[in-house]
Symmetry: C2
Subunit: 351 residues, 2 copies
DNA sequence: TTGTAGGCGTTATCAT
DNA sequence: ATGATAACGCCTACAA
């Protein structure tokens, strides 16, 4: 790595002006095939690529979109799993961006220092996708004064922004309806995720919807909390059992907690689904391998990432357009833990 | 989002020069506390953040490191799992970068268009971490003429570059030794991953090492191939059985293939580990939940990401230093699928 | 199809 | 502790 060469050098050696080099590198039109070839050749020979910063400065467009997500927990096992969701979103975002020649800058907000990070990122990108729970609403509002912002999976922050999310409520509704309608269960309980999780809240709302519709007693709060982790689900269910509670079905806010629930129930010598049915949410791969296999709801995590970037790109292209909301459907995946005995089935959620 | 304001505006409103504003935003020294406060306030009020591109241009440092990884497969289930590895690396890289105020730009090379992508990314970052299988060696060489490059998990491309990888060979060696030494198995086979996978090759080499050392017959090629996917492992083992082959133990190149192998063996009414032992590699979460639980080797994927970014940052800071190699240890995780009956145990790999 | 030249918003150097 | 002012490397009208 010598001193990095510049467009001037490439221009000189190619016997053209910098403008022409610029045109060639932009892959636009406005130059003869021969010229293009020649320029590309000397560029390759010199090992030159246009400087992103210089380009960005001159064109007011960096070609980079940012993705901000919460850094769940510190390190260790637990995190690795509950992070699955975010990873898929990242991949989706990457794909959507790359397909149109953009790149993705990722940043996890550690609790606390999130603000600084977010604003430093804001200066480098053309727009931002902000995942739920990564920043408080005020900060998101402040950010959106600086760059275009798409809010992802955070229904509550939806208004005044472009929004992309999954139909958590509908999926939860369908799942609960299956438990009640097909299996005839009564006495279901919902096991919630972390405090401020919009996803968990929505799923609980769907749960309530269906109970109400079925004429069952509707709890106004979840009966337990497992922080979206396997250990949390385990503990919550143990606690439940310890205080003599033994519901017919446990609707877990996500799959990890459901796995934990399975463990706790086994430890208590309760059989699933014969004594207690269990369901999850997300469809992580472990749910397919555990016994009984987990009935759950799948949300299109990768699509969420893709759609949010696309929406963002649209927004960048047209700052004046009205705000848009995209809600992606979820699908119920029936396996054994709900009480079904047949082979796996898939059914689309409502909407 | 009005017209984005500039440093000039902030300077004027704060009654200072742009130089001072710059100093304040760089969080350096050289200004009074009062001035700093005042500048920060007007910046916040104006909703101004320094332009990344302008900054990068002036300082020749974007504060962004790039991570290039292969885009395994198209879409669909299979990919989601084998991608786990990459996701962890991404998280590790993100963490290491963020902790020192840098950001991470990610880019997946689709087969073919990889070159263009990589070079466009190269222009925007201070350095690049290149994962195995994302680019052919020549391109990596070319890239490294443009920006500092750290090669990740690709032993073969190691020379002439900074390198970070895991001790796959040692882990595989330890695992195979366990199978032979503790369980006394003979007639082991190795199930390989994708063609050009350095990881799979290294693991096979470790497998060979131990067989040789134990005086068993040493195959010069893996006896099957499963492309690192669950379906691939399933098929490979079915094929094996179909042609009358029934080894005592199947050492799989990764966990996904091991899961597939389990399925195939069950379908053939062979019991694991009684009839055939099975091992994996990576320690994905599904391996803990499947029955029998998977004996495997864990490689510190997140650490790989962290270390490679740190190495890269060092390299950026000192372009002249000699090349460094970092090999991270792996650890064997003993569960049931190898034939052990006791509770899970962990043992460090060699080195 | 190609060239000329001003400007993009910072940082860094040199003064003060 | 603060200012003035060249770079920084490219893009993009505007011309030719």
């Amino acid at each position: 790595m010598e001193e990095r060469s510049t467009i001037y050098e490439v221009a000189k050696r190619s016997g053209v002006s910098t403008a022409t080099v610029s045109r060639v590198m932009a892959e636009g039109k406005g130059f003869s095939a021969a010229t293009g070839e020649r320029v590309r050749a000397t560029a390759a020979q010199l090992g030159w690529v246009p400087s992103g910063p210089a380009r960005g400065l001159a064109s007011r467009r960096s070609g980079i979109v940012g993705l901000i997500f919460p850094d769940l927990g510190g390190s260790g096992k637990a995190e690795e799993e509950s992070a699955l969701y975010v990873d898929q979103v990242i991949r989706g975002a990457e794909r959507a961006a790359t397909s149109v020649g953009n790149a993705v800058l990722i940043a996890a907000t550690q609790s606390g220092s999130g603000r600084r990070l977010a604003f430093s990122v804001a200066g480098q990108v053309d727009g931002l996708v902000v995942l739920a729970r990564s920043l408080p609403d005020e900060e998101i509002a402040a950010l959106s004064k600086i760059v275009p912002v798409v809010v992802l999976a955070n229904l509550q922050t939806r208004r005044g922004h472009d929004y992309v999310g999954a139909d958590n409520r509908g999926g939860s509704r369908a799942l609960t309806a299956h438990l009640i309608g097909v299996h005839g269960y009564a006495d279901l309980i919902y096991l919630a995720g972390p405090e401020q999780s919009p996803d968990s809240d929505e799923r609980f709302a769907g749960f309530q919807d269906t109970l109400r519709h079925a004429g069952q007693r509707v709890p106004d709060r979840p009966e337990g909390t497992g922080g979206f982790t396997e250990a949390g689900g385990d503990q919550a269910v143990r606690a439940l059992i310890a205080r003599g509670r033994r519901p017919r079905a446990i609707v877990c806010g996500n799959d990890e907690m459901a796995l934990g629930a399975l463990t706790a129930l086994r430890a208590a010598r309760l059989r699933v689904p014969a004594d207690v049915a269990v369901t999850g949410f997300d469809d992580i791969s472990a749910g397919r391998h555990v016994r009984p296999a987990l009935t759950t709801v799948r949300q299109p995590m990768r699509d969420l990432g893709e759609r949010s970037v696309r929406l963002l790109l649209d927004r960048i292209a047209d700052a004046e357009a009205g705000h848009r909301s995209v809600v992606l459907p979820t699908e119920m995946i029936i396996r054994r833990s709900c009480g079904c005995a047949s082979r796996p089935m898939i059914s689309r959620g409502p909407r």
